[in-house]
Symmetry: C2
């Protein structure tokens, strides 16, 4: 950092991709913009970074303002800096992604201008998004997919106690492919343990509930 | 990005970790600072982002100014935004890492105030670094190590034509452990092909030269 003269007029934004799995579909939280630029288009929830907060704090603030969620899984994704990505002034955006199970997102369905949208629909480009947010979501979707196999990221999408079919569906949705039950169980068995509780009710037979091994 | 009022006084810097493998050691390019803050301490080569350049262009500029290198492997690492990381003013730094084989870095050894330093020495904290650059190098070292197994990143550290023992040494240095020759060859054989040339001279018997498969 040898040439760090303060001659810049560059803003720093934080945008957050809040992913969830609902109705067997990977979805993302979008908010309708009520001001220019890109008025009436959907965008990722985002904030301008304040001088007094860290990047993570700004990401948490962004999630909290829109969804009321706190203490969810949050990780830095990538920093986007195309010169014309914001027509107002040069803005570098540090994108984060957040993962949550859909039960915690109930408030979102009621909030004004906030939607839970299938990621595939967004990526198909049916409706345009504000800024470079579609590119961000494309990038985030790939990171998520890449992380499924070698990390425990899928656990972020299920409640603390879950059935194995429930977890398998999340893996399948994130990977975009069907898994053989036997292979899935072999892969997952070192990572989970029975809670001793059963899921009952509905049209299902009672199923064993599991949790992630500590 | 709904609250993007331009009330910020935040600078954006780009810092680059230029890694190489020389004398069986993972090394990194550091530059001695000749101004405050952290005068006379070593730092990563970095620049202030200009309004008219992308993040990648700024990273390339930073590498070029210090080493004369062009068109080397460059990838975004992580964005560092601790509030007090720069005592002058709030500065968010987008860190990149660059990989190169040491032959291309000859100019660096001669340049004033530019050094090629073993990463282990830096991480051992023998001499303090400017800013949070030691943290950046720690993070970069881990990313590098993680990428060795599942990507072809090690090829960036050898010339276009290389011997298999040469490549194996790079893997060992990046992974921090000895590899069995037979295992290494099995792992690497789908990725390389013979060039038909031989490495001769020195104290060695002639060795077959390989290149990465297209």
């Amino acid at each position: 950092m040898t040439d760090n003269t303060p001659h810049q007029k560059i803003s720093v934004a934080i945008d957050v991709l809040i992913f969830t799995v609902e109705d067997d579909t990977l979805k993302i939280v979008l908010v309708k913009r009520n001001e220019k630029p890109f008025k009436d288009l959907y965008a990722l929830p985002g904030v301008a970074l304040r001088e007094s907060e860290t990047l993570e704090e700004a990401a948490e603030r962004s999630v909290g303002e829109r969804t009321g969620l706190k203490n969810i899984f949050l990780e830095q994704l990538y920093t986007f800096g195309a010169i014309d990505r914001d027509p107002r002034n040069r803005t570098v955006s540090v994108a984060y992604y957040a993962l949550t199970d859909p039960e915690k997102l109930i408030a979102v369905h009621n909030a004004d201008g906030v939607s839970l949208v299938p990621v595939n629909e967004v990526l198909a480009g049916i409706s345009p998004l504000a800024f470079d947010h579609r590119e961000m979501i494309d990038y985030g979707r790939k990171r998520l997919c890449g992380k499924v196999s070698y990390s425990g990221i899928a656990f972020e999408f299920v409640p603390e106690e879950f059935t194995l079919p429930q977890l398998q569906r999340v893996y399948e949705i994130l990977l975009g492919e069907k898994l053989y039950k036997a292979n899935f169980r072999k892969m997952i068995s070192p990572l989970v343990e029975e809670t001793g509780n059963m899921l009952t009710g509905q049209a299902h037979r009672p199923s064993k509930l599991y949790r992630r091994k500590g």
